[in-house]
């Protein structure tokens, strides 16, 4: 979230267009009136200045003003608003906390923005069945808080303090710990969904019929709006251990990751930071970390106390064999906290070095880390733009940060070229254009790198079944029809 706030003062792509005057359009005027009746006047925003907050999500390079923003307070209100949109033939976009980094919650001009942040009740907590039921506006970290201290909710996007479960479901959010624990889709056991025509469907894991939960999670608001979310939680592991290892180069660190996982160790998280990221983090927290290494690995292990101890020792030994310059083991909670602080401080600190950057989200097979990181260095050098990479190395999910100055003519185009080249490199290495941020509006242009016409047509079939009129978040995930 801090990332988002420090970014992009000037849009590289402004999708603004002339606003339709709602007053001149009786259908839209009537729709706004209906929405006011459904949700109450206080929860309906039409004032242009007040709508400013909602013009972008976390990807500030895209902006759009909706016709109206509405903050429903209950599932029945969402259903009524969507039904009204459907009857008026007006598109709608759902939005949570707006931390998404792909423009998935970018409003549609003349459309209705349905903001779910008022729906933040935890509906039930059932630890015997390891299940929690929440409304979509509940922040991610509130779920773990609700089941503490015995249990936790594993998906932990870095925006977790604010980002909502509804948004996490839309994006199929991951986080640092998904190497061992999986992503949002692995934890959603049920959804109440308002379809684009206002129908409410109850999708449950284990119910007879198609697994519609699977495709709904990660559908970025294009198949409907989840108004109640059933989540599985897990018992908190008995103990946690952490080590940090410094390497000559990112490629050498990548090889160490492959060796560790190849040895049968499944860490809870493996984060890789390049030299710039490590330096920025150290400058921010001044804890005496070395800044001369090409890359640093942060490895978290969890399990029983004995397993942790043995795996920590084993992973440390492998790092040594892989020519680590230094291996630091965190012996206690304070040291663990310090090591994570370095990683967490890196991104906001980078924002101080240069305010404008674009965050990539490609995935590669873990074993290709070395090659791909070298290629990214080459792309960065060719275009003369700085690229700083942090990555969830265990599952090969890269977040290259492409820095540019929008004040320099041509530089934002160069940034787009660099981002595009990186995405292409990752797809060619057998990977994906997005691992956890989603396609949104931003990566629609890369979809054809990964998918053929026939593949995209199959996606359209699914979307058509859920939303034949194309009213739910049009223009996202797939090119607008």
């Amino acid at each position: 979230v801090k990332v988002a706030q420090s970014r992009a003062r000037r849009p590289i792509e402004d999708t603004r267009r002339m606003q339709t005057d709602a007053g001149a359009d009786p259908t839209r005027c009537e729709l706004i009136e209906r929405i006011r009746l459904i949700c109450g006047e206080h929860h309906v925003i039409t004032d242009h200045a007040a709508l400013e907050t909602y013009r972008s999500d976390g990807l500030l390079q895209y902006r759009q003003t909706p016709l109206v923003a509405v903050l429903p307070g209950a599932a029945s209100e969402v259903q009524a608003v969507v039904r009204a949109c459907h009857q008026a033939g007006v598109p709608f976009v759902a939005r949570g906390a707006g931390t998404g980094l792909a423009g998935g919650a970018l409003p549609v001009a003349d459309g209705v923005l349905i903001v779910l942040t008022r729906m933040r009740r935890i509906l039930s907590v059932d630890l015997d069945n390891a299940e929690v039921v929440v409304e979509p506006g509940v922040p991610n970290s509130a779920v773990s808080r609700a089941v503490a201290p015995t249990h936790f909710y594993p998906p932990d996007p870095s925006s977790q303090v604010v980002s909502t479960i509804g948004g996490n479901v839309a994006a199929n959010a991951g986080g640092a710990h998904c190497l061992k624990y999986g992503v949002t889709t692995d934890y959603v056991t049920g959804l109440d969904v308002v379809l684009a025509d206002g129908t409410l469907v109850e999708l449950r894991r284990g119910a007879p019929g198609y697994d519609l939960l699977g495709p709904f999670v990660g559908s970025e608001g294009t198949l409907g709006i989840a108004v109640a979310i059933y989540l599985r939680v897990r018992p908190v592991p008995e103990s946690v251990a952490l080590l940090m290892a410094f390497f000559e180069s990112p490629a050498a660190a990548g090889d160490a990751v492959t060796a560790i996982v190849g040895a049968g160790i499944l860490p809870a998280a493996i984060e890789l930071m390049d030299r710039d990221a490590t330096t920025a983090g150290e400058q921010a927290i001044r804890a005496g970390f070395r800044t001369d290494a090409g890359a640093a690995l942060l490895i978290e292990l969890d399990g029983s106390a004995r397993q942790c101890e043995a795996q920590l020792e084993h992973a440390g030994r492998i790092c040594g064999q892989q020519h680590a310059l230094e291996v630091r083991l965190a012996g206690n909670a304070a040291e663990r906290e310090l090591l994570w602080r370095l990683r967490k401080a890196a991104l906001p600190a980078l924002g101080r070095i240069a305010s404008t950057y674009y965050v990539g989200d490609s995935v590669i097979p873990r074993t290709r880390l070395g090659d791909v990181l070298r290629r990214i260095e080459q792309i960065s050098a060719d275009q003369g733009l700085r690229v700083v990479t942090v990555l969830h190395a265990g599952d090969g999910n890269l977040h290259p940060h492409v820095f540019y100055d929008p004040g320099v003519p041509g530089e934002s185009d160069k940034a787009k070229t660099v981002a595009g080249e990186i995405a292409k490199t990752c797809v060619e290495a057998g990977g994906s254009i997005t691992g956890e941020h989603g396609v949104g509006v931003d990566k629609v242009k890369y979809m054809s790198l990964m998918f053929s016409e026939a593949d995209l047509d199959a996606f359209e079939r699914l979307r058509g079944a859920f939303d034949p009129d194309g009213l739910a978040n049009p223009g996202k995930v797939m090119p607008a029809a």
Binding site: D128, N172, Y210, P215, P365, R366, L462, A465
Partner: protein
């Protein structure tokens, strides 16, 4: 003998399917045929597309713990290929009646699973991507082969468990795990369903990293089996035993040579002469499931920690079993004796609500000709 096509390439398979749709003529897909009796009555005069010719390893990236196999590859062959690298596909559904190994395509089409589901999940939790043939003759890919991927819709999960009603699975990319090593199993017994329930719930609430947590019930006697692997397996098994004793289970022991126990659990999921009903309930409702199963003279094996039970009963007990289950649970009939097929709706009467309407819309979009395994799925899809 039905007319059968055995394509040896994806293009041949897609062409055969496309040709049938153009006729139009219904098509049945089959692998090694271990679960052909599952689902509703199959269409008559159907063309059979058999996947035996699509049984290759496409790739195995040991360092990435991922692999892609064609749909007709048998699970036993896949496991032997992977074991050479110390890895496995963490799926252990039961084998067929005459010891035939199920195929990858069949396992994913039916979403079948075994005791490893406790830790590693069902097929939908292990799928990374898929290649499918649709009834218009096109071939589509969905997902990929990397661990994290949110590009496009997750059609691989949609196809998993769809009983071949949306298209033909041609290949599946899966995530792999290191082979189980040094497992032991903690066992305990009780004839009180309430005691078993309390014990399962208590074990589930502890961070014990179990490989499997199963229950068994037969003739008024029940038991819990907890499989533990890894470095300190013996210690953690003792912790399970301590919970079992505290809950009042008896005859507790830790067994080292534990594979035969698990083979028996898997076998308990299949039957040739009785009905096998897959019940999904809450783990905390286990006692109710066991009681109604007992009153229907059923035997049970299942995933205690997940609330999934396979109840084997005589065919005439399917209806009373269903009506006695806890509210909100589901009961799908898997195996039925040949003589009883058609007499029992394996999906139970589905309410004609908006969920079923949505499923019909999905079916119609993917298979507008309606030729893919018509009539065998929920609501006659």
């Amino acid at each position: 003998v039905p007319e059968t096509i055995t394509p040896s390439t994806f293009a041949e398979a897609a062409a055969a399917l496309g040709g049938a749709a153009a006729s139009p003529r219904p098509v049945r897909f089959s692998g090694s045929g271990t679960k052909l009796g599952w689902g509703g009555s199959p269409p008559r005069q159907a063309l059979r597309i058999q996947t035996a010719g699509l049984a290759r390893k496409v790739e195995h990236n040991a360092g990435d713990l991922s692999a892609t196999f064609e749909a007709g590859a048998s699970l036993s062959w896949i496991q032997s290929e992977l074991a050479a690298s110390g890895q496995m596909l963490a799926l252990d559904p039961p084998i067929g009646a005459d010891d035939r190994s199920p195929t990858l395509g069949g396992i994913f089409a039916t979403a079948d699973s075994g005791p490893l589901r406790h830790r590693y999940g069902a097929p939908r939790d292990l799928v990374l991507g898929m290649t499918i043939a649709l009834s218009d003759g096109t071939i589509a890919r969905t997902g990929g082969k990397v661990m994290k991927n949110v590009a496009g819709y997750d059609l691989a999960r949609l196809l998993t468990g769809s009983f071949g009603t949306l298209g033909l699975i041609l290949s599946v990319s899966v995530r792999l795990h290191p082979l189980l090593a040094g497992t032991v199993t903690a066992l305990g017994a009780s004839n009180d369903p309430g005691v078993l329930r309390d014990c399962v719930v208590r074990i589930s609430r502890e961070p014990l990293d179990l490989e499997s947590l199963d229950i068994a019930w037969r003739g008024g006697q029940g038991g819990i089996l907890a499989r533990v692997g890894g470095l300190d397996a013996a210690e953690r098994a003792e912790r399970v035993i301590a919970i079992m004793l505290a809950c009042g289970l008896r005859a507790t022991e830790v067994r080292a040579n534990d594979e035969p126990l698990w083979a028996r659990q898997r076998t308990g999921q299949r039957s040739t002469d009785r009905a096998v009903v897959q019940v999904s309930a809450r783990p905390s409702e286990l006692d109710q499931v066991l009681r109604i199963a007992e009153s229907c003279e059923g035997t049970v094996v299942g995933r205690g920690g997940l609330g999934i039970s396979y109840v084997t009963v005589n065919v005439n007990r399917v209806v009373p079993l269903r009506s006695g289950l806890p509210q909100g649970s589901s009961a799908i009939v898997l195996d039925l004796p040949v003589s009883a097929r058609g007499a029992v709706d394996p999906w139970a009467a589905q309410e004609d609500g908006p969920e079923l309407a949505l499923m019909r819309a999905v079916k119609h979009r993917f298979d507008p000709a309606g030729v893919c395994n018509p009539g065998i799925f929920v609501g006659g899809i």
